[in-house]
Symmetry: none
DNA sequence: CACATTGTACTATATGTATAGTACAATATA
DNA sequence: TATATTGTACTATACATATAGTACAATGTG
């Protein structure tokens, strides 16, 4: 099950954040072919966004054959292999770190201090 | 001098990308207090965006006292100093790291990967 | 002083994003 | 078969973003 999380301050539209997170989830093996996604209504409630916002995200992925939808049943991970390029991964990592360094710098926190703090979380992934 | 670059596909508004890049440049020591930024017109031409878009970015940073503007002369890096207690700083460091580990995890990025990326910025800040 | 440069302040328009609300269609299930 | 669940399809509204265009104000320089 994916753990969706929206950042309203990033400037990236909600529906695009949802799309990205599903794509990355597939690329990193967190969800597999045939897995059911939350219903549009359930995810809308969970993320506190409008039904139409989730629908827009699902619909776009459905057009790309990345998701398969069955009305009355739900939305599922399709059989199209999702390739998140190494370039895109690097871009995402860079983008997150830049935001990170910025947010920290406001409080006088240096990259080195961030690294030291982050070491506490090493090995916690997945 | 900062090297501005806009990504129209990121979903992040142009004016916010400009803001981010200035803030990031300050955070990493690429620009220093008193440095002059490109004029609103020059940057608009350089980035191929409208005058108003650059103006909006500069204005927001000016309100935050991050930039100082002198009409007829130009726009300069201001002398913002954030005073935060050691206790508050520790709490903020922890809070920021938790947020970013979570945000990264959504995209399958591990703390270790964050650390490796952050090392690129080590030593860049004062 | 005259002029160029710089920032500022408007109006107007177009597009994208998000919300609210309503209704309907297809499917699963009791 | 009746009901609930799920996806789908609209309309309408509000706000943010970006562009285009024009004009004015403050400053520096010849």
């Amino acid at each position: 099950m994916l753990e969706f999380q929206l950042d309203p301050r990033s400037g990236v539209p909600f529906y695009r954040q949802i799309i990205d997170q599903i794509r990355f989830g597939m690329a990193t093996g967190r969800v597999k072919v045939g897995d059911q996604l939350p219903t549009v209504r359930a995810l809308a409630v969970q993320l506190k966004v409008n039904l139409n916002t989730v629908t827009k995200a699902y619909k776009e992925l459905e057009i790309q054959k990345i998701l398969e939808t069955q009305q009355g049943t739900g939305t599922f991970i399709g059989t199209v292999k999702v390739n998140v390029s190494a370039k895109e991964k690097r871009a995402k990592l860079k983008s997150i770190c830049e935001d990170y360094v910025n947010a920290a710098a406001v409080y006088g926190i240096t990259p080195k201090q961030l690294i030291d703090e982050l070491k506490k979380y090493e090995g916690e992934s997945k």
